[in-house]
Structures are given as C-alpha cells and as structure tokens.
Symmetry: C2
DNA sequence: CGCATAATCAACCTAACGGTTGATCAACTG
DNA sequence: CAGTTGATCAACCGTTAGGTTGATTATGCG
C-alpha cells in the first residue's frame, strides 16, 4: 500500500471495524478492551486495527497505568474533507446551474465570515 | 477486504494512481490509453485500477467502437462526504463553542432549505 | 481477408491485510 | 513476592492487492 498521508487515511477508513471504532471514540476516550468489547474478535486483532488508525494519525494513545486510552484525532478527516470537496460540484449537478451558483455564493460568504 | 459500499469506496481512494485517474476524469471522459499515458505502468495495471474504481461506483464505462470511455461518477464521493461530515465539529473545535453553535444553526437552516 | 489498435483476460509473483494463537511485558493488588 | 489484568509482540496462515508478461477479444481500416 502507498504510504502517503491521504492513502494511509483512506486505507484506514476502508474497514467497517475501524470506522466503528472511530464512531465509538467520537463519544470520548476509551481503552483497548472497551473498544474491543462489541466485536467478535480477539483483542490482538483490535490492537492491530488501532495501530493502523494510529499510523494514519486518526487516533493518539495516552498512558494511564496499564491502560492505554485512545483518543480520536480528526485532522486526517479534515484532509479527506478537503480532498473530496474538490468534487463537490459533481454531485450538486442535479441542482442545476442556478442552484449551484447559489451554493457557490453561499460558500464564498461563509468563507468571508470564517476566515476574517 | 470488506465489500460494503463505503469500504469499497475508501479502498478505491486509498491509492494515489486511482486518485490521479479521478482527477483526470474530472476534466472529462477519457479512454483507457489516455488515462494510462501519464503513468510508468502497464496498460493492464491501469485496467485493473479502473476495475476497482468501477466496482466502487466511482466511474462508469461507455462503449465507442474499440474504445471504452470512462466517466467520473461522484455519488460515492457524496457518501464519503456525508460520512466524514459527522466528524466535522471535531476539527472545528478551534473555532470555539460559540462559533460551533453558529455552524450548527447554519447547517440546520440549510437542511430546511434543501429538503423542502 | 489481413493487420493494426484498444482493451481485457489469464496466469503468475511478491508483499501486505486481517485474522488466529501463544508468549511476553508492564502495572496494579493481595 | 505471586498473581491478575491490560495490552502488545511474534509467528503463522489464508486471501487479496498491485504489479508483471503473454494470449485473447473486438473493432476499424487497407
């Protein structure tokens, strides 16, 4: 597999188990055992999934005695969002030209508001 | 690899060659040979990449004599966008609570506008 | 028909993925 | 210290990904 950041992120997301783990982490930190609990899978397998997520920068791990709490890190998701954003107008075609223009204007005024 | 739609899409995107192909197709339809031209790779390899993209629904292929023109299909990218959208507030933390609330309100009014 | 072109099919190879089991390390607890 | 718990490491295994080369199919052209 390619090892550029975006490829690592997409590859990490291309697995339902890992996406479920991220969904769980969106609710707060969790230990490896807590994350493994819902799955019919060995703890070691979950540990490997976490390593994949960590390599992609999607999680970080702390240290609390013998527990290694995992925390969601959204930065790579923002990269994904920015990448996919370049194709946004492709699926907004159905709105037609006028409505697409409205979206564009709306986005640009949002830009002014946020970035000033 | 898992074969649910989202996993197929993420997996298809987890390769720089395939992402470049999509970028090329964003400019318009193209034949397999045209798509293969920039890459130092056999035509068969590109053909396989196209099959992966097709299985994910990211492209469709027509038929024009011996050419099989490829066309970008953005629907799966919209699915990706919707999935990642659930985490948007995670990387917008830096805007602070007030601004995040503004975003939430803004989104909900957009929803009213689009879905009615 | 005979041939060139566009693209796919088929077989093969290496490396990585996703899972297993068993052993090990690290930290708390009695 | 001995034992338990949390988690990782290591080796292994079957399958798939991503590339190659060689053969094959389909279309257009002289």
């Amino acid at each position: 597999m390619a090892n550029d950041p975006l490829s690592l992120t997409f590859a990490a997301l291309a697995d339902p188990t890992r996406r479920e783990i991220l969904a769980r982490l969106a609710e707060g930190e969790a230990t490896v055992n807590a994350l493994a609990e819902p799955f019919d899978m060995s703890l070691q397998a979950i540990s490997k999934h976490l390593k994949v997520l960590e390599r992609a920068g999607l999680i970080t791990r702390g240290r609390d005695a013998q527990w290694r709490p995992c925390r969601l890190e959204a930065a790579p998701l923002e990269e994904v969002d920015q990448w996919v954003d370049r194709y946004r107008d492709r699926w907004e075609e159905r709105f037609g030209r006028l409505d697409r223009e409205l979206h564009r204007i709306q986005n640009s005024t949002e830009g002014e508001k946020n970035h000033e």
